[in-house]
């Protein structure tokens, strides 16, 4: 089987300082990869480099495109990359406000990607927007409300709907549960898990919350100071941490 995403020796430097370096992994269709680490460990830099928001200084990010098979997204042309990022890719920001258009209604937010790929039928756009609102547990009656009238959890769910409406195959998530209270987090995770399984999505989730990766991720990568210090199956890494930093990380979680 061809990996959906092959990351080969990716490095991003900020001047002399290391953002992230020597990152290698393969992501297979339907697989969810977690990236954990403390603040400043380079996990968001890595995610942004993979998603095309930053240009890596070294390495290859090879995505298995529908049309042309595996292509290096770092060297592909910008129009192609932008096309990918609104069709086959999705990016869920930590702050829903970064990923939503706050002055546009919920329906318009969901419809934007559809219109960006050429859908010009109002009725069908609206129907799919309503369908997706339902899937992320937002009432139909809120379709014409602006996201600013939504709670934090609803905004995050709306952002997810907006991203998944074009049926992407790879979702990048940057701390999707950050800033939400635990019960809302639990519902969001439940929803994400359902969507990932149902749509057969592949995902890369960056978080510092080990509970999130325990629930969602099949595999786990632990980062520290821009380097990957440990990787493996999630349960294996969390239950039998080998690297000193991973042990610290796992033991830092409060057991309630």
């Amino acid at each position: 089987m061809t990996p959906l995403l092959q990351v080969k020796n990716v490095a991003k430097m900020y001047g002399a300082r290391i953002g992230c370096t020597e990152v290698n992994f393969d992501l297979y269709p339907g697989e969810v990869m977690g990236i954990v680490g403390e603040s400043g460990s380079g996990k968001s830099t890595l995610l942004n480099s993979l998603a095309g928001h930053l240009t890596p200084d070294r390495g290859e990010v090879i995505f298995d495109t529908r049309a042309d098979g595996p292509v290096d997204t770092v060297t592909m042309s910008e129009p192609q990359r932008r096309m990918l990022s609104r069709t086959d890719w999705a990016f869920v920001h930590q702050h829903a406000r970064d990923g939503l258009r706050m002055s546009v209604s919920a329906g318009g937010n969901i419809g934007e990607r559809l219109m960006a790929v050429g859908d010009r039928h109002y009725g069908s756009i609206r129907e799919r927007a309503a369908d997706w609102l339902g899937r992320v547990e937002i009432a139909d009656s809120r379709i014409d409300d602006r996201p600013s009238a939504f709670s934090g959890g609803m905004q995050q769910r709306l952002q997810i709907a907006r991203n998944l409406v074009t049926g992407p195959r790879l979702v990048f998530m940057d701390e999707p549960t950050g800033g939400l209270d635990v019960s809302v987090q639990a519902r969001l995770l439940d929803l994400l898990r359902g969507l990932v399984r149902e749509m057969g999505l592949s995902a890369i989730i960056v978080t510092h919350d080990l509970a999130v990766v325990r629930l969602l991720a099949d595999r786990l990568m632990v980062m520290k100071d821009g380097h990957v210090v440990e990787s493996g199956l999630t349960d294996q890494v969390l239950d039998d941490p080998q690297h000193g930093y991973t042990q610290l990380l796992v033991s830092s979680v409060l057991q309630v």
Partner: protein, 285 residues
């Protein structure tokens, strides 16, 4: 003869503006940056249009200036006087006799011909501006033809008002490539943009010039199930009785009486001179 250089601007500036105009004509709908000059009038009063007109005028030209279709409003009168003084060109109120027409927010009702130039005053040239505030991003969107966002605006209109409520500055796609703001003309005028005359757009504050060459395809954006409609008030002109012209609504008194009149004063006058009359035509005459 006045002490000004012909049409106020110096020759080098006019060359610079002409180069921008030619580039605009070569790439229909593309916003060409130009070094907009300070003009002796405030921004928002047509500094862009005036600079384009100044670069376009020749001593043999006949100039017509309209503001919302009217020849006799402040903006039109002052710009016409400006060119009478600085360029000493002939001026007219008759659409057919003008070779250069500077307009604010209307296209004349009378059909324009190949030897005419229509110059628009543009406040905000970027059609995507209110949806995407970053100039770097909108330029990229134009370059890559990512125009989905424009439809988000129309989507919002329909979801809030049940129909596309955008009534002026209605976005158009020029020659199947660039999405363009036609300046705040009523959408009633949009279909007229496929015309024989050259159309030039000048935005002074925003320092942009763009153009639509004669007979260029100009398509108003819409949805398959909510097609574009060129709407106007459902009345006829109360002075000249015209059914086909764009109308202004005028409140007459405190009792709620109102009248509808052609916004194109020249069109209305010429029809009345030809003997047409509307509901209030006799009283006014």
């Amino acid at each position: 003869m006045s002490d000004y250089n012909f049409a106020y601007l110096d020759e080098q500036t006019k060359r610079m503006i002409r180069r921008a105009i030619l580039k605009g004509l070569a790439v229909p709908g593309y916003q060409v940056p130009f070094a907009s000059r300070e003009m002796p009038m405030p921004y928002g009063w047509g500094t862009g249009g005036v600079q384009v007109s100044a670069a376009t005028l020749t001593p043999e030209d006949t100039l017509k200036v309209i503001d919302q279709g009217a020849d006799d409003t402040t903006n039109a009168v002052s710009i016409r006087k400006f060119f009478e003084r600085t360029a000493c060109v002939a001026t007219t109120e008759e659409t057919a006799n003008a070779s250069v027409i500077q307009t604010r927010h209307r296209i004349p009702e009378a059909e324009l011909s190949e030897d005419q130039i229509l110059v628009y005053q543009v406040p905000i040239p970027e059609p995507l501006r209110f949806l995407e505030p970053r100039e770097t991003e909108t330029r990229k969107m134009h370059a890559l033809q990512e125009y989905g966002l424009m439809h988000v605006k129309l989507y919002e209109d329909i979801s809030q008002h049940g129909a596309i409520a955008t009534a002026y500055a209605y976005p158009v796609k020029v020659e199947g490539r660039y999405v363009m703001d036609p300046s705040p003309i009523p959408k009633f005028d949009n279909p007229k943009m496929e015309m024989a005359a050259i159309q030039l757009f000048g935005a002074g504050r925003e320092q942009r010039i763009y153009a639509v060459p004669p007979y260029t395809k100009v398509v108003s954006l819409d949805f398959e199930d909510y097609p574009f409609e060129a709407s106007k008030a459902d009345h006829s002109c109360d002075l000249c009785g015209a059914e086909d012209s764009y109308l202004d609504e005028v409140i007459l008194d405190d009792a709620g009486n109102r009248m509808f009149v052609c916004s194109d004063t020249d069109y209305c006058r010429s029809r009345r001179e030809a003997g047409h009359s509307g509901r209030l035509g006799e009283e006014a005459a």
